[in-house]
Amino acid sequence: MKVKLRILRYDPEKDKRPHFENYVVEGQPNDQVLDLLNQVKWYQDGTLAYRRSCAHGICGSDAMRINGVNRLACKVLVKDVGRKIKIEPLLGMPVVKDLIVDMEPFFEHYRSVMPYFVNDDPPPQRERLQSIVERERFDDTTKCILCAACTTSCPSFWASGEYIGPAAFVQAHRFIFDSRDRAAAERLVVLNERMGVWRCHDIFNCTEACPREIEITKAIGELKMAVAKGRID
């Protein structure tokens, strides 16, 4: 069947401002939107630029706005979005070309929450022990693939690019609630700053946008509790 794509194009080497271009491709209900973008790029217009790699929702390269909602192009199928599909770059980050945005501000926020394991005690010869329950405590937030779908769907982030944002909070959560980690207190200080967790207004856009189905708003709620109490329960 024919599928109509309406893609927001912008090439700063040629264009004064972004504009939509239309393409018609042959698609099947089970095709990924990424397959359709590939059809355009490979057979109609090689200048179309977007990021992609694994094509099954794990690498996090191809987050974009599809019919107005943040999705991974490889994880949304034609049957999910219909035969007229509007595709735009993620909101709130500088567009570099077509569907490619500058990811550096996103990774800067990521780095600000100490997104790494800290425990300076000399490690045992074998593993540090952790119970199944302790491990389960932060399981959900280990799934994050840093695709930026959550942060760029958040009105607080749209209002200010300085907002640390849900993706970085998810990373903070992953370590703060890890029984082996020792830097929770330092991270909570960062989260309590002006652009920290208090800018989250429980709008749930992030949770809905997450292609990994992480309960992000819930995780942020747990972080808020920890900041407020000054301790981890």
Partner: protein, 595 residues
């Protein structure tokens, strides 16, 4: 623009990041990656990393060594396999110390699950050796290593694609990289270079591999006269999602899942009476191919069912007498499936409308992993001929390297292990080399060769499209250099790939700009894939035996007398030159391989 670092690492997956953590301790290091590091293909590995920790039951590195040798169909070098399996134990604990969130046993230790080909050598039964984090072990390894790199302030050049290797008088002295954001060519002058770019599943039509898995590093080294080793040995994983190729982890069978044909029969009992569904991958893929060829594909189509529904699992577990480590009968519940295989469930629901808890999964073999690659020794040093001559300053690690620890067939969980063990080793050695040696002068006009290649793609006649050539290559390689091979089929593949290489000269890219010109890089990658396909098909055609993943209908037996040796393929202007070198055998004399 020109840069200078003591150590340059090309690729930021498991091997590249592990190398970076170690090289940076002793030398000024930078990592170049065509993707953001967290996008690397290591992140898609699912089932586990192999190490004889013995968390759940008795296990020993010697058993792991023998299983790997046997799995390799005796083509793996036994000294390097032994090194890897011994290092496995401390290096997995090291990952845990870096914070990797492994699943846990009730005692709080790293949880382990059974995987194909990993056995207790005394009883012959499958052993729990795969250390896992749900079904996203690779994701956890990639994330953990990247996190540690952030912690240690490693220098990254993200979205810099390396297009050439620089060599002066036989000594490696750097690389040329293309900056995606600007189209600028950068020269990186280095004392040592570690190539860790991963594999090249995109040579084949149905693959579990990422679009970006195009074997750039092997393409580059082949063009600089460095051979590629054992390229005919390419692994087809038994369980890819039908038509899509997306990987369904062997962990599904580790948890008790079984393969069923159109008669609802567990056919692996016939092909591998002891290991059954957990025989090694080449054995299972071949059995599947034969079942489908004999008309027992589901609905007469080219797929079979992988069934992990609790009722099915429990029925066969009872039949097999399978028990938990404490001796009680093995049982799997729907909740267990959801807890241990969440991503698999997600893939099946998203892409096939299939719920693995209540329905079987349609699967077919999918191009998955390169056993061959850039020849290296146990320290990651690149070897450039059959006498094992080292190229000073050049290292390779991970899937793109051939140490050779996988020989003719890799066991599941040994790829993640390979990444961390040899990523670490090459990082340590590359830094040592950099400390002991000065910079070698760069060649005149170092970017010349790269510029010629890119100019050709900008200025071709435009009679051909790179995407068409890629598709034709993928089809002929899947049909004729796949699970089963014949003389005529491989001959056809060689001829076809050579024709495609001719036609590649006529490619002209649409995008003539410089910012994020992914058009030109994709076209350049097709050139790499074609070189790799040619070398693979020629190496395969010449090897007149069946061994591991190289299965020939016209030569169905292994022939140790003639073929217990590694292939070295050199890419020449109009041909591929093949040479050979012996396999290192220490403790285990080749014998028949039965599962």
């Amino acid at each position: 623009m020109q840069h200078q670092y003591e150590v340059i690492i090309v690729g930021a997956g498991g091997a590249g990041l592990m190398a970076a953590l170690y090289a940076s301790r002793g030398a000024r290091t930078a990592v170049l990656s065509k993707l953001y590091p967290v996008r690397s293909h290591t992140g898609t590995a699912q089932g586990g990393v192999g190490a004889a920790l013995g968390s759940e039951e008795e296990d020993r590195p010697e058993w792991h060594t023998f299983d790997t040798v046997k799995g390799s169909d005796y083509l793996g070098d036994q000294d390097t396999i032994e090194f890897m399996c011994e290092q496995a134990v401390p290096v997995v604990y090291e990952l845990e110390h870096m914070g990797l969130p492994f699943n846990r046993t009730p005692e709080g230790r790293i949880a382990q699950r059974p995987f194909g080909g990993h056995t207790n050598n005394e009883t012959g039964k499958n052993v729990r050796r795969a250390c896992y984090a749900a079904d996203r072990t690779g994701h956890m390894i990639l994330q953990t290593l990247y996190q540690q790199c952030i912690k240690n302030n490693i220098t990254f050049f993200d979205e810099f694609q390396v297009l050439d290797l620089l060599i002066t008088d036989g000594v490696c002295c750097g690389v040329v990289a293309y900056e995606l954001a600007t189209g600028e060519l950068h020269t990186f002058h280095a004392k040592s270079v570690i190539i860790a770019i991963g594999g090249w599943g995109r040579v084949w039509e149905i693959t579990s591999n990422a679009h970006s898995y195009t074997g750039d590093g092997v393409g580059i080294t082949l063009r600089r006269g460095i051979p590629a080793e054992d390229m005919e040995f390419y692994q087809f994983h038994p369980t890819g999602i039908y038509k899509l190729g997306i990987l369904i982890t062997e962990g599904v069978r580790g948890e008790g899942g079984v393969l069923l044909n159109s008669e609802n029969a567990r056919f692996m009992e016939t092909y591998a009476p002891t290991a059954k569904d957990l025989a090694s991958r080449d054995v299972v893929s071949r059995a599947m191919y034969l079942e489908m060829r004999d008309g027992r594909g589901i609905d007469g189509k080219r797929y079979l069912n992988l069934d992990v529904r609790p009722d099915t699992v429990n029925k066969y577990a009872q039949k097999d007498g399978r028990t938990f480590p404490d001796g009680s009968p093995y049982r799997l519940s729907a909740a267990d499936v959801m807890a241990k295989l969440p991503d698999i469930i997600d893939f099946c629901r998203t892409y096939m409308d299939v719920d693995p808890v209540t329905q079987p999964m349609p699967v077919q073999p999918t191009a998955h992993y390169a056993m061959g690659g850039i020849p290296t020794d146990v320290h990651g040093r690149v070897l450039i001929d059959e006498k094992n001559t080292v190229m000073p300053g050049l290292y390779a690690a991970g899937e793109c390297a051939c140490v050779s620890v996988h020989g003719a067939n890799r066991l599941g969980t040994n790829s993640l292990l390979d990444l961390i063990v040899f990523g670490k080793e090459s990082g340590v050695r590359a830094a040592e080399f950099a400390n002991q040696n000065g910079f070698v002068a760069l060649p005149d006009d170092p970017v010349d060769f790269t510029r010629q290649q890119l100019d050709a793609l900008r200025n071709g006649s435009g009679k051909e499209k790179a995407a068409d050539l890629r598709q034709e290559m993928q089809k002929v390689m899947f049909d004729h250099v796949g699970v089963f091979r014949t003389q005529d089929g491989m001959r056809e593949a060689v001829d076809k790939v050579r024709e495609l290489k001719e036609r590649f000269q006529e490619v002209r890219v649409d995008d003539q700009g410089y910012l994020y010109n992914t058009d030109i890089l994709e076209a350049w990658e097709v050139g790499c894939l074609l070189d790799i396909a040619e070398v693979t098909a020629v190496s395969a055609l010449e090897r007149t035996e069946s061994r591991g993943a190289h299965a020939r209908e016209d030569y169905p037996k292994r022939d140790d007398k003639k073929w217990l040796k590694h292939t070295l393929a050199f890419l020449k202007k109009d041909e591929v030159e093949l040479r050979y070198k012996p396999v290192t055998i220490t403790k285990f004399q080749p014998k028949a391989r039965v599962y």
